[in-house]
């Protein structure tokens, strides 16, 4: 399963990373290099084995449907790149302008 240039571009799009054209061949090679080692996994016999994510089988603790609302030590304005009238502002979505952006 060799990673192609197109794969890297597709994945970069999904991850919202703009790649420097000059870096792409090296990235293709690096990812292939790393994933080649990962092929060892396919040799492992995992028939009947369940995958785990996280450890500890204590189950999921639940919280009561009550506060407190966790507080912010500083105002939202103190960490937001752009705010107005208590709204966070971002550049206009292209569904309301150019066509590159999308509705999920």
């Amino acid at each position: 399963m060799a990673v192609t240039r197109d794969d890297v571009l597709r994945v970069a799009t999904l991850a919202r990373l703009a790649l420097d054209e000059a870096r792409i061949p090296a990235l293709v090679a690096e990812l292939n290099g790393i994933l080649a080692h990962m092929e060892e996994l396919s040799a492992a016999d995992t028939t009947g084995v369940c995958g785990i994510s996280g450890v500890g089988d204590a189950g999921l603790p639940l919280r009561e449907d009550s506060g407190p609302q966790l507080s912010l030590a500083t105002s939202r304005e103190s960490f937001a790149p752009a705010m107005r009238d208590s709204f966070f502002l971002v550049p206009r979505l292209a569904t309301h302008g150019d066509s590159a952006d999308e509705v999920p």
């Binding site: 799009t13 999904l14 919202r16 994510s53 996280g54 500890g56 089988d57 204590a58 189950g59 999921l60 603790p61 639940l62 919280r63 009561e64 449907d65 009550s66 506060g67 407190p68 609302q69 966790l70 507080s71 912010l72 939202r76 752009a82 107005r84 009238d85 208590s86 709204f87 966070f88 502002l89 971002v90 550049p91 206009r92 979505l93 569904t95 309301h96 066509s99 590159a100 952006d101 999308e102 509705v103 999920p104």
Partner: protein, 491 residues
């Protein structure tokens, strides 16, 4: 089913049918969000209901709200689903500015519940129309993007981000837009009944995506489906499904293929449009949410939740017919929503005559609510007071027309019926002394009429009673006056 347009010249016209499945997102009635303690209350200032967790600040973690699990399981039971004793959360990854973490926490591989159904109506032969429910799962809502508020910028209000939802997914078993509408109406009524959601469309607490495909009638293979989003009313769902079905039929009839894509409903234009360009097809990269261990529910807990399920609409309808001897049409009106049904039932239990209770609730009460645009939950007349008002009428202490005036005043003031009737002097007087005095006065003032009545002219009784009523300023009990005149004539 509408007829398909004619295919190639000379060919038989092909009949098409639509295959529709719905994904319904319903906001759960909790005080706080799904994974943090922020309030879910609608109408707060922008971003006031946010905290480090629902803003997705680096280092924060989700903690699941018990009430959301309770309500989700209740909904699952009401939809006859099997509740999984172990369900898992997953991340659905995509970039959108109102999705603070860059992923939505939802349930994917093992949802909260599966394999249920919903009866949405009856066939002409009286058999039920049953639509399968594929799954019910818990997930968090996204925030709100406002695109038109500021020039060149999108404004984000994250108050909704992290609000608990259930997603109810139907089997692709709906065959008409009307049935899709019925599914939604029945679902809305059901969820309101069991207290799972307020299902307030204006506040966006119910949202629908429709999956639509078209095939030649009789085919068993499904056609390519499209997903229509942005449906914020039941009529929008019905209209959008019709519009998309028409578009797909036209495509198939001309030999074009239907592309798998997301469509948006434009209510103003009454048409569906593709939502996005194809270059970046969706790949949500679901994987198990590592911040939340699996949700494990004991069988006892799940069984208990089922036992505690409130009465469902169908059961209530049957019971109203039996307990209150009401006709189908009355029951339909009185059980339309849980608040009205509860109101009626309190009145009916507080007053001897359930039929007259039904007439008042469906008549005066609904008319007043409509005229004043008041929701029943905010109505000032308590059901027990309406029952007392009906008692007064039944006991002859209040005439029907006086009772209407009293009710109108109660609706304004919230006062008790006796108080209002007293204050307005509308209580009927049946005290023997007062009745006899008015009768004596009338006889003294109209001796001719009195004599003719005594001589046997029965029609003059009405005249005499009318005069006595006038003297009492309408408060005398007409039955008592009648009795008093005839007794004196006889004696």
């Amino acid at each position: 089913m509408s007829a398909a347009p004619r295919a190639a010249a000379g060919a038989e016209p092909v009949q098409y049918e639509m295959v529709v499945g719905l994904e319904v997102h319903v906001q759960l009635k909790t005080r706080t969000k799904l994974f943090c303690g922020c309030p879910t209350k609608f109408g707060a200032l922008p971003n006031a209901n946010t905290c480090p967790v629902c803003l997705g600040l680096p280092g924060t973690l989700p903690v699941l709200n018990y009430a959301a699990v309770q309500l989700g399981v209740r909904a699952a039971h009401a939809l006859c689903c099997a509740v999984n004793d172990l369900s898992t959360f997953a991340r659905k990854n995509y970039f959108y500015p109102d999705l603070p973490k860059g992923y939505q926490i939802t349930q994917y591989e093992r949802p909260l519940a599966e394999c249920g159904w919903l009866v949405i109506g009856k066939n002409p032969d009286d058999t039920p129309i049953t639509i399968g429910v594929t799954r019910v799962h818990l997930e968090e809502d996204a925030g709100k993007s406002l695109h038109d508020r500021y020039r060149g910028a999108t404004a984000l209000d994250l108050n909704r981000a992290g609000v608990p939802l259930i997603e109810v997914v139907s089997e692709p078993e709906l065959r008409t837009a009307k049935d899709a509408g019925a599914f939604l109406r029945v679902l809305k009524q059901l969820l309101e009944y069991i207290g799972v959601s307020d299902v307030n469309m204006e506040e966006g607490s119910l949202r629908v995506d429709a999956n639509i495909s078209t095939r030649a009638a009789g085919d068993t293979v499904l056609g390519t489906k499209t997903e229509v989003k942005n449906l914020n009313s039941f009529s929008a769902v019905e209209r959008a499904i019709e519009a998309e079905f028409a578009r797909q039929q036209a495509a198939l009839a001309t030999g074009t293929t239907v592309e798998q894509q997301t469509m948006l409903w434009d209510a103003a234009a009454g048409e569906v449009r593709p939502a996005r360009s194809k270059e970046d097809s969706h790949d949500y990269r679901y994987f198990p949410e590592p911040d939340l261990p699996p949700l494990v529910l004991s069988q006892d807990w799940v069984r208990k939740a089922k036992e505690e399920l409130p009465e469902l609409p169908s059961a209530k309808r049957t019971r109203f017919a039996k307990d209150y001897s009401l006709g189908d049409a009355d029951i339909e009106v009185l059980t339309a929503n849980i608040a009205l049904a509860d109101y009626y039932e309190t009145v009916a239990r507080g007053h001897e005559d359930p039929k007259s209770a039904a007439n008042w609730v469906m008549g005066e009460l609904l008319a007043t609510l409509r005229a004043t645009e008041t929701p029943i939950t905010a109505f000032r007349v308590r059901p027990i007071d309406l029952a007392r008002l009906l008692d007064l009428v039944r006991a002859g202490r209040l005439s029907h027309s006086a009772a209407k005036r009293v009710f109108a005043n109660m609706a304004e003031t919230g006062d008790r019926p006796e108080e209002v009737a007293e204050r307005q002097g509308l209580l009927q007087v049946s005290d023997d002394g007062a009745i006899a005095a008015w009768v004596a006065e009338v006889i003294a003032e109209s001796p001719k009429e009195w004599e003719r009545y005594r001589a046997g002219e029965q029609k003059l009784l009405g005249v005499l009673v009318g005069q006595a009523m006038k003297k009492s300023k309408g408060r005398a009990d007409p039955k008592k006056l009648n009795q008093s005149f005839s007794a004196r004539a006889a004696g």
